[in-house]
């Protein structure tokens, strides 16, 4: 089925998320929609899927104008979507999720689970998936959950299939497998829209590429285009894809983590007997697929986890057992992975956010009273130093773009005397300009002699920053390898295979 979008415009208040976007996808074609975070890709697809209503423009399938009142209409018209955040119900089984909204029933609305199971098995067999129809979604790895999403779409005979940032949660190997699935779907005549901001994937699988910037189509490109060409089209200027970084000059051991184990309240091990050391002036990247214990590892260091065994020593100071306040006072700087949730108070101003962890005394508090002059002076300096683009220091942080929010977090954390700096997913959701800035500051921090831990699920980022790489899988560190270890090896390690020679 041929899909055509004509002049789609979607506004949220004053913001125009999609500005007269045209797009055509032919059957048996993989059409890549390339653009930065916030360029309007997901909005466009939500319009296509009936989740948002477009202010202007029309959607055509096989040259017939469609009117979608909701996702149900889009689905019935043959549009399927594999969402970035899976639309699966964690406590339901695979079969229940696949049948939901499209249930086959016996008399009186009694569910016919056998038919649903058979459908799951039939589609699984077609693509060589190994999926138990009665497994609960929450017990499945994310890669398998994504396949359930694909089965769900195909069970409704989708002829146009949209993949919204599907590789964000996958290992490189799983990504390759997904590409194979896409090619197979293409061979069956499905029209595929593949939304991503990862250049490598685009060039590998795309038949055509449409680039979106700030809600507008800014051009089409051939899959043969170089990374640099695609990147400059996406960002609107020439960008450097590598981080300028001199070789590390590691000093003595600054952080020693020994036999660290973290469990959740019901005893599941989240971090499993992890030991490593980190030297001054060195960046250790913690790589791995999301949810393999990285978050809990950083939270354990920060004193945010409560069931911690083992020891974490920074410059001779034991951190296990300290409160987050005590950890901060020991000289640890922390950029949390979810800046809106854990890094900032959205309703506070830039200045207030800059002193969030300095409420205990001078220079910002005297006799229980805020020293607003001192704070204003400090905030003005930091806003200039970290290039935070805002009207002023009294702007509420919630109003800033992701990149500027992250700069506020960095400014706060890096303007203390640090003995250890931890940045978790420091560039998630940022635009390319901000990514460059954040990377530069991280390398500068390293060069000033601070040991740095960067947790990232993006292999490109890991490769750009790391002096050494620790790969985590199911709570364990599979191995610690040099910073220039090839991607495919890292990929295998992320899937749990131990590197025989390096681990020793």
């Amino acid at each position: 089925m041929k899909l055509e979008l004509r002049g789609i415009t979607k506004r949220f208040g004053a913001l125009t998320a999609n500005d007269h976007i045209d797009l055509t996808v032919e059957p048996g074609e993989i059409h890549c929609l390339l653009g930065e975070n916030g360029a309007g890709k997901s909005t466009l697809m939500n319009v296509l899927y009936g989740l948002y209503r477009a202010d202007e423009g029309e959607i055509l399938l096989n040259d017939v104008v469609q009117k979608f009142e909701g996702p149900g209409d889009a689905m019935n018209a043959g549009i399927g979507m594999v969402h970035q955040h899976f639309m699966l119900i964690p406590v339901f089984t695979v079969a229940e999720n696949v049948m939901l909204g499209n249930e086959s029933t016996k008399a009186a609305g009694v569910l016919d689970l056998e038919t649903a199971r058979a459908k799951v098995r039939e589609i699984s067999a077609r693509f060589g998936f190994d999926i138990d129809p009665d497994a609960k979604i929450e017990d499945l790895p994310v890669g398998v959950q994504q396949r359930v999403e694909i089965i769900k779409a195909l069970s409704r005979d989708a002829k146009v299939l949209v993949f919204d940032e599907p590789t964000a949660v996958l290992t490189p190997q799983e990504t390759d497998e997904l590409m194979d699935i896409m090619r197979q779907l293409k061979a069956e005549g499905t029209a595929i829209v593949f939304i991503t901001h990862k250049l490598r994937e685009v060039r590998e699988v795309a038949d055509r590429i449409t680039v979106i910037r700030l809600g507008k189509v800014v051009g089409e490109a051939e899959p043969t285009a170089s990374n640099a060409e695609l990147a400059s089209l996406m960002v609107g200027r020439a960008v450097s894809l590598t981080v300028d970084k001199a070789a590390a000059t590691p000093g003595d051991d600054a952080l020693v983590v020994d036999s660290l184990t973290v469990t959740d309240p019901i005893g599941q091990v989240l971090v499993d007997n992890v030991s490593f050391t980190l030297k001054r002036g060195e960046i250790l990247c913690v790589a791995g697929v999301q949810g393999n214990g990285q978050t809990e590892l950083t939270e354990a260091i920060m004193g945010l986890q409560h069931r911690v065994l083992g020891s974490i020593v920074v410059d001779g100071t034991e951190l296990v057992g300290k409160s987050p306040r005590g950890v901060l006072d020991s000289g640890v700087g922390f950029v949390p992975e979810d800046r809106k949730e854990d890094g900032l108070v959205g309703e506070f101003t830039i200045a207030e956010n800059l002193m969030l962890d300095r409420y205990t005394g001078e220079p910002f508090v005297k006799a229980g009273t805020l020293q607003l002059d001192a704070l204003a002076k400090f905030a003005t300096e930091k806003v200039a130093e970290f290039d935070v683009r805002a009207q002023g220091i009294a702007t509420k942080v919630g109003r800033l773009s992701g990149g500027n929010q992250q700069k506020v977090v960095l400014a706060r954390e890096l303007s203390r005397e640090l003995r250890l700096f931890i940045a978790a997913q420091p560039t998630r959701g940022l635009d390319v300009g901000s990514i460059e800035f954040v990377h530069k500051r991280i390398v500068e921090t390293r060069d000033s002699g601070v040991p740095v831990i960067v947790v990232s699920t993006e292999l490109d980022e890991v490769a750009a920053l790391a002096d050494r790489i620790a790969v985590m899988y199911r709570g364990r560190i599979i191995g610690i390898v040099p910073g220039d270890t090839p991607r495919d090896v890292l990929g295998l390690m992320m899937a749990g295979e131990t590197p025989a020679e390096v681990a020793a």
Binding site: M75, P90, F92, G109, V110, G267, G475, D484, M493
Partner: protein
């Protein structure tokens, strides 16, 4: 480039590792009860024999009374409970779970010893105690069924109390005017649904905090029914507050089964409707398309929306249905239990039903069992005060609420409510 060889993942590495968590909750709780048992049943032990009656006079098959000497029973039971407690400590030290049947056995032993002690020297009508418990539980069960449906679809229903009370009022009024208890029941369901309409409109359409709407509705219904009771009913109770009642109906054959028959099958129509409602709600919730969609909306509304389920409509109609079920339970008060409407006659039953929803982990069968437990505590209180018990009546009146607090606070453990319950579904 570095040459790195990898070894495959070791077999069996698929299950996530766990560290055993030692929970001392059960053994410590058991110990507390052993101490209570030792003090009450031995230290303050009473002489005399308690007779447990297992039949009523009208039964075809008469079972003999079981006599238990109070002090001896207390000593034996305390020893048995102490043994179980030691076993629980050993299990906990090995970080193993205490099986449910052990806890149940412990509870039954304690309860038997308590009854023997409290009723020493008298005869305890067990059938009356249990049948009464079932009767008292009936509105709680209707309330918790409505609560389960409402919360499963994503709307917290604090207004159960108000729905019960409005049901009780309208049932009395309609049944008085029409002279037909079934019309009263239908009116009660409508009244409950009406209260739900307000809850649903405010929380689903206007995103008002569901807890606040629920609390306000309770207060509103109390005020409204009290006002109408004093202005309308009390002046002319013959016309407006003398409803035709649901009488007890003994089901032939079934009602003659020893012990179970008199308890389960000599009840009023509303109780029989309750049996049907429990099974029907359970079946519908877990085996039908309606239930699958309802649960999906309560767990992950966005996911439900993306497969074409109308989230707000599903929520709205099911909250109404929940209100109708609760309202029907309210009719029990005025048409079966009392025979007329009284001011605030539900007396907190809606909140106990809410506790049963949580204690029952949002499952209709478990919630029913929880409601039965609470009902049993209530009826035990009234039975013992008739038989004459050494515990001051004020303490006995506290019993159902103490059981509720212990049940909800201590015994639920790790339970997970529907993920999206209480959260409005907002789209742009």
């Amino acid at each position: 480039m570095i040459d790195v060889k990898t070894t495959p993942v070791p077999a069996g590495g698929s299950a996530p590792a766990t560290i055993a968590v030692r929970s001392w909750k059960a053994p410590i709780g058991f110990s507390a009860f052993v101490v209570i048992a030792a003090v009450l049943f031995i230290g303050l032990g009473r002489d005399g024999v308690t007779n447990f009656r297992l039949s009523t006079n009208s039964d075809l098959i008469q079972l003999p009374e079981i006599p238990l000497p109070a002090l001896a029973t207390g000593i034996v039971a305390t020893a048995a409970m102490a043994t179980i407690t030691v076993y629980a400590f050993l299990r906990a030290r090995e970080a193993k779970k205490i099986p449910l049947w052990v806890t149940t056995l412990f509870a039954v032993i304690f309860l038997t010893a308590f009854l023997t002690w409290a009723a020493a020297g008298a005869t305890l009508p067990m059938i009356g105690l249990l049948a009464g418990a079932l009767t008292v539980s009936t509105p709680l069960i209707f309330g918790s069924l409505g609560g389960v449906i409402s919360e499963r679809v994503g709307v917290v229903n604090i207004a159960i109390e108000g729905q019960l009370l409005s049901g009780a009022f309208v049932a009395a009024l309609v049944a008085s005017i029409t002279g037909n208890p079934f019309a009263g029941l239908a009116g009660a369901m409508l009244a409950g649904a009406l209260v739900s309409t307000i809850l649903a409109s405010f929380s689903i359409k206007y995103f008002v905090d569901q807890i606040i709407v629920g609390v306000v509705l309770n207060v509103l219904v109390i005020g409204l029914t009290s006002f109408l009771f004093s202005t309308l009913m009390s002046g002319n109770s013959a016309a407006f507050n003398a409803p035709a009642r649901f009488e007890r109906i003994a089901i032939p054959l079934l009602s003659e089964i020893p012990i179970l028959g008199p308890i389960l099958f000599r009840q009023s129509i509303i109780v029989y409707l309750m049996y049907i409602a429990v099974v029907a709600v359970w079946f519908a919730l877990f085996k039908t398309r309606w239930g699958l969609r309802l649960r999906a909306v309560g767990e992950h509304p966005t996911a439900a929306d993306t497969v074409g389920i109308k989230v707000r409509a599903t929520r709205f109609w099911n909250v109404l249905l929940a209100g109708a079920i609760v309202g029907g339970g309210g009719a029990f008060f005025s048409l079966a239990a009392v025979g007329s409407f009284q001011k605030e006659m539900t007396n907190g039953a809606g909140f106990i039903a809410l506790a049963a929803v949580i204690f029952g982990r949002w499952d209709p069968i478990r919630a029913t069992l929880a409601a039965l437990l609470f009902g049993f505590a209530t009826n035990l209180q009234s039975t013992l005060s008739i038989v004459g018990s050494p515990v001051p009546s004020e303490f006995m009146l506290m019993l159902p609420y103490i059981v509720t607090i212990f049940a909800v606070a201590g015994l639920v453990g790790y339970s997970r409510p529907p993920a999206a319950t209480g959260k409005p579904y907002i789209t742009s």
